[in-house]
Symmetry: C3
Subunit: 487 residues, 3 copies
């Protein structure tokens, strides 16, 4: 039987004047390597390279896009087999049979009609896993069997898929205090896939959070220092950045609710840090400290060249009951309006024209695209606008992004695509969708006589690979050998 076919013109405008050009543009980018500068695939996956246990663990469990949607229609996370973090206190049973969870998922698969999750899953089923029919409640168990039979083949182990997907480099996201054990393991293996860490110190800046002191302890331990002062803290951060860089990192990442940046004197910063060590720091202290540390991260980036990313605007764990039961990243984060012009001013005035500084700014608030972000990225040399993020990483989201930012910032102040996923199998699906939508956008410009096809071909290539390499300093030639021999 042939696998379920995806249409070769999917996501293109149906008007022939656009569609034919989109096809031609996509034809030349579809086989380019996948450069992945930001994401959440656990490095353990590629370090251990074990076969995926079964379909539900592979598809359902890591994907909060999926269980978020099912939860919204009354399906509990327990029924999907998602294990709670806390004890099963209230007598709700977690589904232990993955086939039952899969059945439930399949019965609700219609909810994803018209969503990017639906598009990615269709791709995974058809192109990656060779599934032969549409997923429905009726076909659920047969599809499960088809996937399971693939997972038993060696060609479906993580490293084999990595190679088959054509991944050029995969960046993970790692806490500042990490020993990068899995990255070390990958580098010491005989596999030559390029997997690099990204330095994410959020937990170390969250003065008022319950886990802060533990994170500081780990960070100290990792750098052979007991951190008892702001000075020591800065030193440990710098040393860990150097360690991450040695392990292949080219970037840092910072998640904040508001992207406010503010310069504290060293005394002020020290005083806040000491207050936190005494366990007395509150939310306001944390906010001030984060605003200052974003500046310090920018300063260090001008020195060590790590590309700085800011991902602001998500109010985490909006649903307290879900958070208390399942912990963070359970599908209950909700965006808030986000201001950039005033908030980033201090940072951009200090470092926005520094020749060794690349700053990639993301948003969950699309109203800022044309109003703030394109004007900022279209002015400051250091700043690049990150691709459509999270809820906006979708066909319409990408369309709005290009239409609202290109006219002010051009495409050359944008940072290329990133898949930002923890669902390993969705990586090629996401890049494919992005390349198609970009091809279609450019085809529209050609069809309206704003570009020539030659220009569009150049731009399509830049959007697929060139800009992301340049922005994230992930050039293949310059890096590959050095990366391989760094240890």
């Amino acid at each position: 039987m042939k696998p379920l076919a995806l249409h070769e013109d999917r996501y293109f405008d149906p008007a022939p004047a656009v569609r034919d050009k989109a096809r031609a543009l996509y034809e030349r980018t579809k086989d380019l390597p996948l450069v992945c500068p930001h994401g959440h695939v656990p490095p353990r996956l590629l370090a251990e390279d074990e076969a995926f246990p079964e379909p539900a663990a592979l598809i359902l469990e890591p994907d909060h896009y999926i269980y978020r949607m099912l939860y919204s229609q009354g399906v509990s996370l327990e029924a999907l087999g998602i294990p709670p973090e806390g004890p099963e206190a209230d007598g709700i049973q977690v589904e232990s049979d993955p086939r039952e969870a899969w059945q439930l998922f399949a019965e609700h698969y219609y909810l994803f009609r018209g969503t990017p999750t639906g598009a990615w899953l269709d791709y995974e089923f058809s192109e990656v896993l060779g599934v032969e029919e549409k997923l429905t409640g009726e076909s659920a168990q047969r599809v499960y069997d088809q996937i399971q039979s693939k997972l038993d083949e060696p060609g479906f182990r993580p490293r084999a898929l990595f190679d088959r997907f054509g991944i050029d480099v995969l960046t993970t996201t790692d806490p500042a205090s990490s020993a990068l054990e899995h990255h070390r393991q990958i580098r010491q293996s005989d596999w030559d896939g390029r997997v690099v860490p990204c330095f994410r110190p959020d937990a170390a800046f969250a003065l008022a959070s319950a886990g802060w002191r533990e994170e500081i302890r780990r960070l100290g331990q990792q750098t052979d220092r007991e951190i008892t002062s702001y000075d020591g803290f800065l030193q440990s951060l710098e040393e860990q950045r150097a360690f991450f860089k040695k392990m292949g990192a080219t970037s840092t990442d910072h998640a904040v609710v508001e992207p406010v940046t503010q310069r504290l004197s060293e005394q002020e910063a020290s005083a806040l840090f000491d207050k936190a060590l005494r366990g007395e720091a509150g939310e306001d202290d944390q906010r001030t400290f984060q605003a200052h540390m974003l500046l310090e991260m920018a300063r260090m980036s001008t020195e060590d060249g790590l590309v700085m990313q800011i991902h602001p605007g998500a109010l985490r764990d909006h649903n307290r009951a879900i958070y208390e039961r399942f912990g963070p990243d359970s599908g209950a984060d909700i965006p808030v309006p986000t201001e950039y012009t005033r908030n980033l001013r201090t940072l951009l005035n200090e470092y926005g024209a520094h020749p060794n500084f690349n700053l990639v700014v993301f948003t969950l608030d699309e109203s800022s695209y044309a109003r703030e972000l394109a004007p900022l990225a279209g002015h400051y040399p250091a700043m690049r606008l990150g691709p459509p993020w999270w809820f906006h990483d979708s066909i319409e989201g990408m369309r709005r992004y290009r239409r609202r930012t290109t006219e002010t910032a051009g495409i050359y102040n944008t940072a290329g695509f990133n898949d930002d996923t923890r669902a390993f199998l969705s990586i090629p699906a996401r890049h494919d969708l992005s390349r198609r939508v970009d091809a279609n956008y450019l085809a529209g410009l050609v069809a309206r006589h704003q570009l020539s096809m030659d220009e569009a071909h150049e731009m399509a290539r830049a959007l697929a690979v060139g800009l992301v390499r340049e922005t994230y300093r992930l050039d293949r030639e310059a890096h590959a050998p050095a990366g391989r021999t760094a240890e």
Copy 2:
């Protein structure tokens, strides 16, 4: 003479690949019944079932969309025959000849080009009233005559039109203190049209408004109780909700400037209520009380099953002179930016996963669609996103709505269409436009190979009828007989 023809492909994309699919989808939804879960048609109309007096009173007078636009171009409400509420103090004469008002309207009809009001009126003229030519200053009196001759026929009385329009159920909007006299009258008549009330207690929560004490008095009277305390107030609300439900209601509705929700202790709520009874409550007190009462309304909904609607974000009566002369709902309400993520958090954390709770949230701030509302509706089981409202109930408004919300929330977390009108004749026009635009949206997804036609047919039906029935608990079978025999 044949009536002025509307084009059969109106509002569809002209590209044949989309248009033909849109046609096919619309073909199967156009004759489905009209389910109307929210609107402002006066129940008196259907209780008394009198012939409409003449065209201006039918078309012009109830429609603030119309006189708002004419006012913006310097036409006074008086010249349109809109009667002021206060005395004619300043010597401005109100036009008493409806033919003169009609003439003025016709001369300015070009202002509605490209607006939904223009589209609805064209439908009313052509499809409902059989008008034979385009309305202009030149044709004004002939069109008036054509309409008048229809209004004299028995088939153009309200109940006959209700039946001819295929209205399955029509929900009105009624103050919490209402005796629902007209609803009673309808139920006691031999006509079997289903007209149900909706419980709207805004006036009872507006502690600082001039009319609050009178509203409380009426609410008490209606429940055989003198309301002298917060406790009694809650009891009266619960009893009136039960009465509305007995009279067929399935929903409540709440208009606030900001959708903030906040839990007060019973002491705090009582203290505010007592302060208001003493006539000492200010704007801040009112805001706090409203925020608390939204939670109480949600709690009661979990108990009695009435679906809760929140319509936030309109600054009412922006134009003081118009308000003072003509009272509320005179076309001078203007939207303000509206925040949902933080404001609704308390309510959603308390009741957002309750199995007996349906919450429909509306917005006048489209920037919240993709940023806040789709993520919230795409997570919390109780929440559904209301359709494009008021200024956004339009072709482009509906398009933006689907494009910004479907990818995150899917269509199945949206609440279906509602016409929200006080212009009775516009009901079929509005449903028709909505079904066409939804058909066209789905046709676009099919043409871009994101859906199959089978899926699109299912979705079109859900958008036209299924979702609204489910969200508002307006299922035909379950309700109809009970409703008929409730008295």
Copy 3:
């Protein structure tokens, strides 16, 4: 050799059903006169009518859209030959050879792909200057030569171009204290082009700025009065408005960060003014004073009939280093979120229905189009919505503008097009683009059967010329002779 051809269907939708109608609509507006009610062309240009020195001074230097984009990619303003205002303190050399600056510009010309700047420049090169090849690093010097040879011809002097462009009236922007020397010179010349000033008193309202006292001194001098009180200040403003009007002005213009309006008593206003004279006014005082002065400007407009414009929402000089080196208007202004509903309420309640008052409101915050501005313009008789401004004066920006405002406000509450440019050669390019995009928008409505072609033709003409004449009181017949004989 033939000049580089622009495609005759550029910017039109490629679907034939739309394109053909767009062509037909554009065909009838393309040769209408250019009415320019707002812009920044220096009146000196037309007073002196000297030949443009060379291509870089003509194209590059006045256009902060260009050097903003190049700066964003690491090209310094100095390298483009932009002269700093301050001393060359830090040893950076300013490029003195315009051919070198031109070369640098040409090498980066690809950055403008898909931007309106690129579209305007292509038009200027092809249609105005007869350039014969695409600008690239390779062709740079040949293109320079081609342009230079044109600039040497008398037909390329400013007044000749003004006539050739078909400019009906060109409005400049002038400080309140201006003696309008260049306007006087133009009027006293034998050239009959109509160039009129616009009264912009921003500097006189900026109590807390360094230059305020000097501006007040100049304003006093200009009106033969030493301004020592708020009363005298108001008198001087009224007299200068009368002088501007005598010199042909029909409008005033006001740039503020927030469009807040607030009524002060005369005592309060006087006290603020005196405080400022003592050099003690701070940012808050300035904000309050500006909010009050907007009301005073509206009042004066009801008396003298000058059309009032408000351009809010730009945070000026975001990049301090660029500002300190190059002064204002160097491409470092960034928009901020802007609120209108509450901010404009006082002004609109006082003057929004005055029959002698026209108010044109602009925005850099597109989220306010459908939410606040279309509802306000669609209600208040005095208010018109200004065209897409600055970053939004683009193909997609215009599309969003029409799609988000027409359905609520219609086209007849919008103010027509203005080019708002300091780049003289871009004037016909900008009008051409605007007329094409409007034709295409209307063609889409016709293709979706929302308008007839006759209606669309009328509307296209209104958008190109009618609305701007009416809004800005720039009627040709009424004004031309009076304007010519005013002196």
